[in-house]
Amino acid sequence: MNNHINCLHCIVPPHMLESMLANGNEAQKKVALNAIGISGGIRGHRQALASAVAYLTPVTAPGKHRTVYTANDGSSLPGQQVRDEGQPPSGDVAVNEAYDGAGDTYDLYWDIYQRNSLDGNGLHLDSTVHYQQNYDNAFWNGQQMVYGDGDGQLFNRFTIAVDVIGHELTHGVTQYMSNLDYQGQSGALNESFSDVFGSLVKQRKLNQTADQADWLIGEGLLTASVHGVALRSMKAPGTAYDDPVLGKDPQPADMAHYVNTTQDNGGVHINSGIPNHAFYLTAVAIGGYAWEKAGKIWYAAGRDKFRSTTDFQGAADLTTQTAGELFGTDGAEQQAVKNAWIRVGITPGAPQTQPQPQPQPQPGGCVTAPAAIIRSLFGGS
């Protein structure tokens, strides 16, 4: 079945998928929906499929499914299941935070951007808490979120901040969209996307406008004995902490202070300060809730235009272009995006000269025309 769907998404033209959605029986609709879901990875098809995608928007959330596991201080993943979707809260605060934070993140993507989970196709959200002992980290392993309890001296448990949870899940979203290479500038953009949408999850949960938000990443994560308020500041990169043990927040706010390093995949957690600040400046200039316009511009650019190798200049060009498409050329929104990038040291290029990304052939299919499949869907007995 999967092979058939893989072929289908490459071969069947959008209008045919639309017709299948409008006129087909339940089984045909399901196949068409799957085909559209899979083609989410092919950015070039997005625009053409817009009308068909409208059918993908039912009234209620279609597939929020969260499962939380515990590693019981070990390293095996995913570990022992402790809470599944719809089950009551556990007595374990980390379990409940991981569950609720995954829900808040799912809701932002679904309610605001009509994205059904990380892959756009209802992927289950798996999280593991209590990973190793005194573990000062949280990560996305390509399939699930993993959270440590912190050492208690410098770091608290990593589920304590909802933006950390939104950050990790957004790595999954990025993986299924542009799949930005986790190295150098594209890696810093990948990190920045996670900080941006992690912060938006928090702002929406707190019902804060752009000027009310703290724009901090990981507030509450550092213990009281550390001199610092968070791990990163999108509002003022480089000011989140300054501590004798942890050192000073190394993030730059603009290209003049870009850090060249081989560590941390080329400083992906350092230079993300630059696009982070560009997003902050955009959101504050536009005003209101940051997820409504600035977030929409960033999301649409990341979904439809970014590629795995997009760098800071590309991000500036493509978000500026997207702002014009969504809210009008030379409108206040596009001006806000443009000015924000200029302030961090990057001048967006002329939007109309940007090449459109071309759809790439997907591995494992799409070579032979599945005429029999199409026949069976439309005329089949």
């Binding site: 980290n137 949280a138 990560f139 392993n141 390509g142 399939q143 770091f155 791990l231 560590q263």
Partner: protein
């Protein structure tokens, strides 16, 4: 013997480093390190060990050991650390945490 240890990456992006010169260590501490290096089969490990799926926010360890005439560097992502190497990485992480070996 000289050891350069860096743990970079992670959600916080804060690096942990240690530079160890065995001549400046107490004899028992030096012997413990050499034992863990031997048990890891350090000089036979590949220079780069990366996971199939890159993920994000994982720690990356870089360990360079000079034990004349041999010098070898191993760069490994935390989710694919070979079992035999784990005790050495844990030991070096603890040394780095003391802040005495920067």
């Amino acid at each position: 013997m000289r050891i350069e240890f860096v743990r970079s990456g992670g959600f916080a992006g804060i690096s942990l480093t240690a530079r160890v010169d065995s001549e400046k260590l107490a004899p028992d501490e030096s012997a413990t390190l050499e034992q863990k290096i031997n048990e890891a089969g350090f000089f036979d490990l590949p220079g780069q060990i990366k996971p199939a799926s890159p993920g994000a926010d994982m720690f990356e360890y870089s360990v360079t050991i000079s034990l004349p005439p041999r010098t070898h560097t191993v760069i490994v992502s935390e989710t694919v650390v070979p079992e035999r190497l784990r005790p050495l990485l844990d030991h070096l992480t603890n040394l780095a945490r003391t802040g005495k070996y920067r």
